[in-house]
Amino acid sequence: MDRTFSLRKLEKSSWKASFRSGLIEIAIGLVLVVSSICHIFDDLRNYFMPLYLIPVLLFILIKKNIVIPRMGMVKFSKQRRRKSKLFHIVITAILLFLVLLTVLSATANLPEYIAPKIIITSAILLICFATAYFLDFTRLFLYGIISAGAFNLNEFLRENPGSLPDGGYAYLMASIVFLITGGVYFFRFLKKCPIPDEGKDYDEKERRKKTADFGD
């Protein structure tokens, strides 16, 4: 066990605290559930598309009303915020590159069934890996591989119908992995970080309290 005390480790641990709620896993899981629904009910796909907003809205609402009140607010150092800015620039560059690639694949003479697959797989992997690297969220490397794997399995099943049921179910299987992982993290978070009692803070009342002498 590493028992060294380092400011860098301390900062990283504080930063990673926000990923311990399992909210990201739950959001990815829900995105995959919606993808699965869209593929299973392919004819009604357009009606189901707005469902993609649900994971985003749930993420924002749960973070604001459940996670932050239990974890507390924090403002990280300038270095960390610089890294976050760089992350946004890199993600924007990746997205622009992918849009460019999509346009090129539509205009250039590329095999139709290969190009979109490569673009979407690259998009999933690049975005997940960049996020994992810049935000020190290592689990996202694995999540990128699982999501890209689910997408490719889904495409394979669509192109080769037969023994297994069509597409969508690949997403559903991956979503179960994410939802279970996220659920475990979330319940652990709720248990470990209960809502603090009203009025119990570092306030005037507490400051006026006669305090014991700690260690000196």
Binding site: F5, L7, R8, L10, E11, S13, S14, A17, R70, M71, G72, M73, V74, K75, F76, S77, K78, C193, P196, K200, D201, Y202, D203, E206, R207, K209, T211, A212, F214, G215, D216
Partner: protein
């Protein structure tokens, strides 16, 4: 204190005791790497009891090492804590002094 007594004083006795206490050292280390943090965040990160953390923060505030800002988010009060310039300077000084002391000790016991 006479000059002779001052000369005899061991450097280890001159370390900043306000910082030297382990819990306060942890709080200051955390605040050193953050711009500011809510009381609740420090509570979660340090794993200390509420009263214990409050007491240590009070001592650090009295020592002039941290700034305490109170604000309201909606109807809920929020206490933000940040290490000020004097706290940063004292923390750096403490680390340097302790390094000197332990470098000497380490060289002698090995």
């Amino acid at each position: 204190m006479t000059k002779r007594k001052e000369e005899k004083k061991q450097p280890i006795l001159e370390i900043d005791r306000l910082i030297h206490e382990p819990s306060r050292l942890l709080i200051l280390s955390l605040l050193y790497v953050l711009e500011n943090a809510e009381f609740l965040f420090l509570l979660r990160q340090t794993g200390m009891a509420q009263g214990n953390l409050s007491s240590h923060l009070k001592r650090l505030e009295d020592g002039g090492y941290i700034d305490v800002t109170k604000e309201f988010v909606g109807k809920k009060p929020r206490t933000l804590l940040a290490l000020n310039q004097s706290g940063r300077k004292a923390f750096k000084q403490y680390v340097l002094e302790m390094k000197k002391i332990f470098d000497g000790l380490h060289a002698e016991i090995n």
